[in-house]
Symmetry: C2
């Protein structure tokens, strides 16, 4: 870093801007969005995953996965994630964490085939990439039902989805209430899309559908092929960078080989008084429409705007509200 | 990790497989691909970026950026990257590194607006996200030309591009010689796509086009909006996980605030005798066609194959060849 050079460069940029004022960037648009364009994240839907590395703030989406989120709330209330661990970090894929095994023996292992192995990565690493699994228990004392319904998609009835406005490889796509979603008009269903920072429920091979005791966040290119194959419960809206920077696991599927490599989860709780508050740019707002358009048509640094954007590249703005 | 549970889960998977044998997975197909389906990475195109954290092996693509790669070779030969540093790690975006400033004063700063800030991230972090810049020098003693032609795209004439077979949001897309590429039939041009692990040349705002002294690798969702806006020179084919796991920079655009936070580059060189050898699955091979189809139509873990894949989700297989 050379401060003088940085200063000169800033001056250079300023002179360029004076010569040809650029339209507002996506960041400019979000920064200028009025108070009414922001949706407050309800504290009761804000799950905080606390570790010595930092805290992930995850907004849960009970409109899409009510049963799983109820199960996760029960696990959180029972303290089952406290003393759990981040058991898996697979590059360009997921960070995954698990609750402690409980008296109900529901949670037997952290070896979940939560998200199928990435073929290319597995080949590159020379691993055999045999999927592991999570035994699904049925014993007494479960903090939540041992078998939950799959919540891979829901009825789209009543969902006002703002269109992406670009072709999507996988499905008709857009935004509902600030969430990136895709839909199927034939079945009239909708689902949360797998984008960077999306949070889903680990599961074993079918017929298992997961029980909420193993969760993962996407830390790579949006694995949209997982859409409608896994229950999505929310997305990380703050703090993911402390977790995406964790050392990758060296075992199959990025699982850590030893407990010593894992990051301990100190505590998981839902937000309350005194916690940071967040807002998400409301996808029904004119500001979001302008933001979306600007994301597809970048200027300034860009000499050739793409004229389109894929769903996961939109990155719905989130801001921490100073109290 | 519970070994018993893992064993039971494996047994469970085996019994499932016996009941309904699954078609080969993408990883299976790559693992079974015959020797003739693999293209050897030429050592003279394999750039090794050595740091105390690990080594990145980058395959360069001189078919797409001959002038920039020649300039980078000259910088490497002059030892200008040795003692350089990783100056920027922006979450869900890029790892960027810079050569040492040289006697030609070409390389004045690491504050490049190499890749425009991500709007959402900037808002979330509350940063002002003002682009910095790199002073482009013209002094004597330059190890390479101070001004290079933009190599944002090239003629598609003579390129046999294997079609992706799915709709792409940004352009007609596919693969050439194992590289993910996109093309414009009107202009008859083609370019390397920005996917995870793609390597590009940092530049300042236009009219700057970069000089090869600052390079970046993508460590997040493929920022395809950068396609045709930056000179792409290759992709990381080994070792990226040591770099994608670096702590994120806390300054604007993910630049580190102090040199102490940077990771020093010990040495950069091109591969020679005794270095690991790599092979890339040839996109013209039947094995690749089967791999591509399997990536779009996952089975086993997946209950609902997507039936499509976006370009960056294909992840062309690479393998290290045991010597």
């Amino acid at each position: 870093m050379n401060l003088l050079a940085t200063f000169l460069a800033a001056a250079f940029s300023t002179s360029l801007a004076a010569a040809a004022p650029a339209p507002p960037s996506p960041a400019d648009i979000a920064a200028a969005a009025p108070a009414g364009a922001w949706r407050t994240v309800a504290p009761e839907n804000l799950m905080l995953v606390e570790t010595p590395r930092g805290t992930m703030a995850i907004e849960m989406a009970p409109d899409f996965a009510p049963a799983h989120i109820a199960a996760i709330r029960a696990l959180v209330a029972a303290g089952r994630f406290d003393g759990g661990a981040i058991t898996r970090v697979q590059d360009n894929y997921v960070v995954q964490w698990a609750a402690r095994p409980g008296p109900d023996k529901v949670l037997a292992s952290s070896g979940a085939a939560a998200v199928a192995a990435d073929g290319a990565a597995a080949v590159a690493a020379g691993s055999t990439a045999a999927p592991g699994g999570v035994a699904v228990g049925t014993g007494p004392g479960a903090a939540h039902p041992a078998v939950l319904p799959a919540e891979y998609e829901r009825s789209a009835r009543g969902l006002k989805i703002v269109r992406l406005g670009s072709n999507d490889t996988y499905a008709r796509s857009g935004f509902w209430n600030g969430w990136p979603v895709a839909q199927d008009r034939k079945t009239n269903t909708a689902w949360l899309a797998h984008c960077y920072a999306s949070v889903g429920v680990g599961r074993d091979d079918p017929p298992d559908t997961g029980d909420g005791s193993e969760l993962y966040a996407v830390i790579g290119h949006g694995p949209r092929h997982l859409d409608r194959n896994i229950t999505m419960v929310g997305r990380v809206i703050d703090g993911i960078a402390d977790f995406s920077a964790l050392p990758r696991g060296t075992g199959p599927l990025g699982f850590y080989k030893t407990p010593a490599e894992q990051t301990v989860i100190t505590r998981v709780r839902f937000a309350g008084v005194g916690d940071p508050r967040f807002e998400v740019l409301d996808s029904d707002s004119p500001a979001f429409a302008a933001y979306l358009k600007a994301r597809a048509n970048r200027t300034g640094f860009f000499i050739r705007p793409a004229g389109a954007t894929d769903l996961c590249n939109v990155q719905v703005p989130v801001r921490r509200v100073t109290k």
